[in-house]
């Protein structure tokens, strides 16, 4: 309870007053419900802005202007898109598998949003600091793979089926380097809960885990590449390769169901970037620690996480418009012959480093233990 939103807000007098009338349990439930809803709305908005960012940044990279009609700099494009998605007809192919066709977008959006329950937006703005936090996040997000496969299968279209099969096999393959890289961080941090992982990275950037030792530095890039593949982003966007598979697993989806698939994808990129930031780039930590425990400090920490995540988001989009798509056999050989062995090497190296140097980072070794 202590390290959750409800535990934090129940310390405020106003919520204590509410708790006296409603009871602690119900108040905490209401706080959880309100913040879960708030995070969902924030993430849906971020996902919507992701589509604009994608178009704006791609336009920028190709010396075009991009969407600029709806609102200033085309910022309200997301509202226009949302209205369009909702008001378009929802067509299902005649020969489709109805039940699975309806279920697939749900699994995608469900798997993505459930990871948010353990995301540390700041020290106290975390819905639940589960003891198996990061492990739970990997586990529940594997539902997205099932959703993509079922979306491809249920449409009964050849393009969709190929996309779905590719998507599922790609997602499960790249889960191996991701898991091994996370294990490397777990070895250093000594725990799986997100707060344990982030807390040791407090202070200046050289305390971030990416600079902990040479292996974590390589590990960050392994993790980043694997997460690109996990979220079906270019250059790993084979499941929805528009030049060969029309639109991949969501070819037959129209209207709001297509919108939900797209929303799930953009939210997933944001969530996965936030996980990368939490694991390697210091998470919500600030270089200074004034106003400890107050609400402005929490908001500053949230801003810190948000900025770093957006920077990573920019890199994800940048990569998409820079690199050509891989072939299927290249995709598989990159995963099994490059990333997985490198991830195992990193894991072994980090384990040896932790034992040999007593868990100290490179900076502490070079400049003495006064760095903290």
């Amino acid at each position: 309870m202590e390290n959750t939103i409800a535990g934090y807000f129940l310390n405020f007098p106003i919520f204590q007053a509410i708790a006296e009338t409603l009871g602690v349990g119900l108040t905490a439930f209401l706080i959880f419900f309100a913040f879960a809803g708030l995070f969902t709305v924030i993430l849906a908005t971020v996902g919507g802005f992701g589509t604009i960012a994608e178009r704006k940044i791609s336009a920028d990279l190709q010396a075009r202007i991009g969407p600029n009609r709806v609102g200033p700099y085309g910022l309200f494009q997301l509202i226009a898109d949302g209205i369009k998605m909702i008001s378009k007809e929802d067509i299902m192919p005649r020969s489709a598998d109805k039940f699975l066709y309806y279920l697939a977008p749900f699994l995608c959006i469900f798997g993505v949003l459930c990871t948010v329950a353990v995301m540390p937006f700041s020290k106290n703005l975390i819905l639940s600091d589960l003891n198996v936090g990061v492990f739970y996040a990997i586990a529940i997000s594997s539902l997205v793979g099932v959703g993509i496969f079922l979306g491809g299968y249920a449409s009964n279209s050849k393009w969709s089926l190929l996309g779905g099969m590719r998507g599922a096999s790609q997602i499960i393959s790249y889960e191996i380097p991701v898991t091994l890289t996370i294990m490397m961080i777990v070895v250093i941090a000594g725990g799986l809960s997100f707060n344990t992982l982030v807390e040791a990275q407090a202070g200046m950037p050289w305390n971030w885990y990416i600079f902990h030792n040479p292996f974590t530095f390589i590990g960050f890039f392994v993790f980043f590449i694997s997460t690109l593949a996990e979220t079906n982003r270019a250059p790993f966007d084979l499941p929805e390769a528009e030049s060969e598979l029309v639109s991949g697993y969501h070819t037959e989806y129209t209207g709001i169901r297509f919108g939900l698939f797209a929303l799930a994808e953009y939210i997933e990129i944001f969530v996965v970037s936030a996980v990368s930031v939490s694991l390697f780039l210091g998470g919500y930590q600030l270089p200074f620690n004034i106003l400890e425990g107050t609400l402005p400090n929490e908001l500053l920490q949230f801003g810190s996480l948000f900025l770093k995540t957006c920077a990573l988001y920019y890199v994800v989009i940048w990569v998409r418009w820079t690199f050509p798509r891989l072939r299927v056999d290249q995709l598989m050989s990159i995963c099994w012959k490059y990333l997985t062995p490198i991830a195992i090497f990193n894991l072994v190296g980090t384990a040896i480093w932790v034992v040999a140097f007593d868990g100290q980072s490179m900076f502490q070794l070079f400049f003495g233990s006064g760095a903290h």
């Binding site: 349990g25 598998d97 039940f99 699975l100 279920l103 589960l130 003891n131 198996v132 492990f135 739970y136 990997i138 586990a139 529940i140 594997s142 539902l143 793979g145 099932v146 496969f149 079922l150 299968y153 099969m165 599922a168 096999s169 499960i172 889960e175 799986l192």
Partner: protein, 197 residues
């Protein structure tokens, strides 16, 4: 309160998906209902405070085994094998005739009787405890400590077991050593064409 809600919803999910899984004749739907069963079982683990086991259940079964089963169904083409005429026993999702159903029903009754007999005993001995006050304690550290102390041999041997499974899977799934006939044909034709030129 929350634990009770979790328990009842998870068990309802398990029972409903299990029944649907056995009832449906579509293999794909069956796999998806199995997904519901596995998630429900993870929820049941959570009611016991076993967070790591629940997450493992979701990670290995939902993320791995169900996708593997979906791929396996795709090996058969994943079509709907529903029979066109559905009357009486054909409605039931199993192979067999009157006699198999009779035997199956009899054996099922015997098993149900045995289980009831054992569980009656348990219900008498164990009092219903106040599960709301079930304080939650981290399990993963305990698991790790046990794995590297008391169950060290089992832990290390399990890696050898998994190595065996990996090698076995690789050997079974490997294509046959002989070259398929059509490759010889293609090369032969190619050769022939070159000679012709």
């Amino acid at each position: 309160m929350f634990i009770n809600i979790l328990f009842f919803s998870a068990s309802a999910l398990v029972i409903a998906s299990c029944a649907l899984m056995m009832w449906t004749k579509n293999l794909m739907h069956s796999c998806v209902y199995l997904l519901g069963v596995l998630i429900g079982v993870a929820g049941l683990y959570l009611t016991l405070g076993a967070d790591f086991v629940a997450a493992t259940q979701i990670m290995v079964y939902v993320g791995g085994v169900v996708i593997l089963m979906l791929f396996a169904v795709m090996l058969t083409g994943g079509k709907d094998f529903q029979s066109k005429t559905q009357q009486l026993l054909n409605l039931l999702p199993s192979m067999g005739n009157k006699y198999t159903f009779m035997w199956g029903g009899g054996v099922g009754l015997v098993f149900a009787g045995c289980l009831t007999y054992f569980f009656m005993h348990l219900f008498k001995v164990i009092k219903v405890q106040e599960i709301d006050n079930n304080s939650y304690s981290p399990t993963i550290e305990k698991l790790g400590e046990l794995l590297v102390t008391d169950h060290l041999v089992a832990f290390e041997l399990s890696s050898v077991l998994l190595l065996g499974a990996l090698v076995g899977a690789a050997i079974i799934a490997r294509p046959r050593k002989e070259r398929p006939a059509y490759i010889d044909d293609i090369e032969h034709d190619h050769h022939h064409d070159e000679e012709h030129h």
